[in-house]
Amino acid sequence: MESFIEEMKRYLGFTEEDAAVLRSLGPRLVKYFPEMSERFYSQIPFHPNAFRVFTGSEAQIQRLKHTLQLWAAGLFRGIYDEGYAQERFQIGYRHVRIGLEQKYMISAMGIVRAYLNECLVQEFPATDERMEMSRVLGKILDLDLNLMCESYMHATVQNLRSLNEQMERANRELAGASHTKDEFLAHISHELRTPLNSVLGFSKLILDGLCASPEEERQLLKDVFASAQHLLGLVNDILDIGRIEAGKMVLHVEHVGLRDVLDSTLPLIAIQAAEKRITVVDETADLPLPAVHADEVRLRQVLLNVLTNAVKFTNEGTVRLRASYPDEAIASSDMLHMPCIRLEIEDTGIGIPPEKREVVFQKFVQADPSHSRRLGGTGLGLAISRRLIEMMGGSIGLESGKYGRGTLVWMTVPLAVRQQEEVIQA
């Protein structure tokens, strides 16, 4: 395909003879170049927008005046090949980069053209000869300006293309986010309607006088209460997930005594455990536990969630709480060399099949939804727990219980060796 410069030369009727004329013209015009650049720069910096571009001192303008003289020398060198075209393209690209618009360039080049024609009048008193020189000069100035303008266009197209790509990417991300949001909304709507059905249904039955006895009324009221509590749990969890996903979950991480956290959390599951005759064994009871670097409220939330799950999914046996310090070797690989304490909560319950051990950390996923429907739970607890623990710089996961049954949830929490206080936002 014909290159741009060849196409332009053909269009302008630019010949080898013209090139030779320009080559011979150069030495006679070189003395006018300093004045030419003075006039050029008396024009271009005073365009309202171009003015902003020339932020440098007088030294910058001096440098640019010199550059313009080099440009003029090129104009009369007599070689107008691809190398020449590239050089001229570069000028346009540079102008786009610094924000010098094409319209200022074009009008300033008009000054150059007028001045060089004046020079021709000085140099060539004979009209015929001067007309010939002027014609050739006109061609090369047209060619040059076209090359620069072409590069302006290329650069602009490139900018537009990259802007377009950015917009497409943003669009795809938005579409994805919107889809996820729709799914999330559908899920929430579904989850809220089920307990609402019980709250509204049973209270309406009572109000309609459809109960057989006061005892039955009382039982239904208990169901209403339990469903309303479940709803409250859902609402709280949804708010947490919403905050996390909007990047608005703020943790106040400070030095927290792990003993205090455990001592204030364990009693909260004691009643449930006792009702099911499950023993809760705190193997850390006699250990000197360290301070951890954590958000106290959120760490308690995670522990309570995991302990509640353990009691909920265990029908007989024990729930054990252990603490240990993981190997540095293991610790350094995934915890960024942060010294951590590892907590384990192991139960003798129904367990979770290996293939479900990761998915239960996803939103609204339960290993066996029928269990949770009966036993309560929102399907959000572990998803929230994982995000909270990760925000604190720890990690959380599931394993099989030590004796091949039940579930073992482990979590690592960074020890309090870093700075005193920190606010972390998701």
């Binding site: 559908a186 309607r193 307990p195 059905n197 249904g201 049973f202 309406k204 309609d208």
Partner: protein, 139 residues
């Protein structure tokens, strides 16, 4: 042969949330005089349906604990299965917490159900009226 008028009509309730199932059966029994069978076990459902003992089925769509031939079966699939096994045309009412735009049309079309109710369903009289209408239309 339709049962004599004084025999209570029997409603099969398939619902994975026990409290919701409890509400349906209480509402239908107390406000409508129906008898109810509540189960999530497909074999048991089919036994009732095949014996002609079920006059109408209320099916939840998302059924977490109901399996058939090795996979979890939902209310849509169950609607077809029950109809195949019923000796005469079985009216089906879908009762679901899927309430987003388009859910109703999609689920009605997929299941071939006769009617559709969105949770929360909490008015006993309204539920009884729906069921009676469906029974009347089917007779």
């Amino acid at each position: 042969m339709p049962p004599p008028a004084d025999t209570p009509r029997c409603i099969l309730i398939v619902e994975d949330h026990p409290l919701v199932a409890k509400f349906y059966s209480l509402a239908l029994e107390r406000a409508g005089g129906f008898t109810c069978v509540v189960t999530e076990d497909v074999t048991e459902m089919l036994a009732y349906v095949e014996a002609g003992r079920v006059d109408l089925a209320i099916l939840d769509v998302s059924l977490s604990g109901t399996e058939w031939e090795g996979h979890t079966i939902d209310g849509v699939e169950l609607a077809h299965l029950l109809r195949e096994h019923a000796p005469s045309r079985l009216p089906i009412l879908l009762a679901t917490a899927h309430a987003m735009a388009g859910d109703r049309e999609r689920l009605m079309a997929a299941s071939g159900a006769d009617d559709y109710m969105e949770k929360p369903i909490y008015d006993a009289a309204h539920l009884v009226e729906k069921v009676r209408n469906l029974l009347r239309r089917n007779s």
